[in-house]
Symmetry: C2
Subunit: 213 residues, 2 copies
DNA sequence: CCGCATCCCCAAAGATACTG
DNA sequence: CAGTATCTTTGGGGATGCGG
């Protein structure tokens, strides 16, 4: 196991976890890899401001801890990709809780907020996928299209969606956080979509994370 | 809301969460406050290596984010304490997941590992309290004594414990992680204790965190 | 182009001394 | 007790270089 340069030096599972993924950028790299392998350059592009040396160092660290693995794609794609190991993928529930907790004080997106490519699939994967009821949902938000089918998230449209949500990022925010439907266009099975939203808003404890502040 | 000096500048709930609690030491301070208010000096004592300026800066940051609050104790105790707000206490499920994830690669304690005071109550609070069945459990581990009664954790012994676990830190580790009972002394209702262990080992997803690597 | 390694500079973290 | 002030060290951000 590769060790961080400044470990906390406490025998504590939380301190140990933070020694592995507590450094700056580490969990955002994990976030990028949550729904599929990515190349070094794509990681760099989706993490504005990271600096190539830091990205390389973090990847080496995560690899040393058994959280990510580096694979060489079969020819003719002569590039290499990073992907989460099962141990790294076990961080998903943590990312989900962290996202719900952060969302409760994030506020709606401003018009000038920069959205990185793939954010919608990312959001669906973290927030909806683990609790999605049977059915297929398609989201068309701010130019991105992604769908949740049987608890699996895919980039792009669904084949025969039971419900389609269309709008911008602020509309999706108000739909999910505030339960306001007027800022998005919903077609199809509204009741099923409502079940999805309710399931997602109910964090593991049974209390909506948004009611805690 | 107080802002971190180097924000990630992404509209993403995870990035926003990390802007609040992602800096070094922040989550360990939250850990210290998880099961009750503490004074500045006690925080400093339980976080070896933190440096007083960093502790002061982090507390100010956490206070500005609405995660901790500073209270002055009523006379004659003329001191002040820090405690989690409801918003800060909502981090508990995250800390629990993080602890279970970290525990799966932590390994048993070495003989020379330093244990900070209150670690046992902390561990019980994070790992057992949210899932504890009815009943009262008393733990006497490595000089510390704490108990779980009706899902609540208290420092010190239980009044009429249904089960008592006695031993050292390594024994508790092997009991919980490996399911080996021979390194601790258990008296009372072993079946009830087993239910507690099973409930705790089963993380939110239904899979024991320890099987993922 | 992709995947880093190197270099420089500044800001944050560590250590210690000191003060209301 | 509860921090602030100061100094040193180190990690991070940004630009650039360089082999494959």
């Amino acid at each position: 196991m590769r060790s961080v340069s400044k470990p906390y030096d406490q025998y504590c599972p939380i301190a140990h976890a933070l020694d592995m993924v507590g450094e700056r950028w580490s969990l955002l790299i994990v976030r990028e890899l949550l729904h599929g392998p990515k190349r070094y350059t794509d990681l760099s592009a989706n993490l504005p401001g990271i600096g190539t040396n830091i990205l390389a160092a973090r990847l080496k660290m995560l690899e040393g801890c058994g959280i990510v693995a580096k694979h060489r794609l079969p020819p003719p794609a002569a590039s290499q990709v990073y992907e989460l190991t099962p141990y790294g993928a076990a961080l998903k529930p943590i990312m989900r809780e962290l996202a719900l907790w952060g969302l409760s004080s994030l506020g709606p997106p401003k018009a000038d907020e920069e959205m990185f490519p793939g954010w919608l699939g990312n959001a669906l994967d973290v927030v909806f996928a683990p609790v999605a009821p049977d059915g297929s949902f398609e989201f068309r938000i701010a130019g991105e299209v992604a769908s949740v089918v049987g608890g699996e998230v895919h980039e792009g449209p669904a084949a025969e969606p039971d419900a389609v949500v269309e709008g911008d990022a602020a509309g999706l925010y108000h739909l999910f956080v505030d339960g306001e439907w007027q800022d998005v266009t919903v077609t199809g099975d509204r009741a099923l979509l409502e079940r999805l939203l309710d399931a997602a808003a109910t964090a593991s404890g049974g209390t909506p994370a948004f009611a805690t502040r």
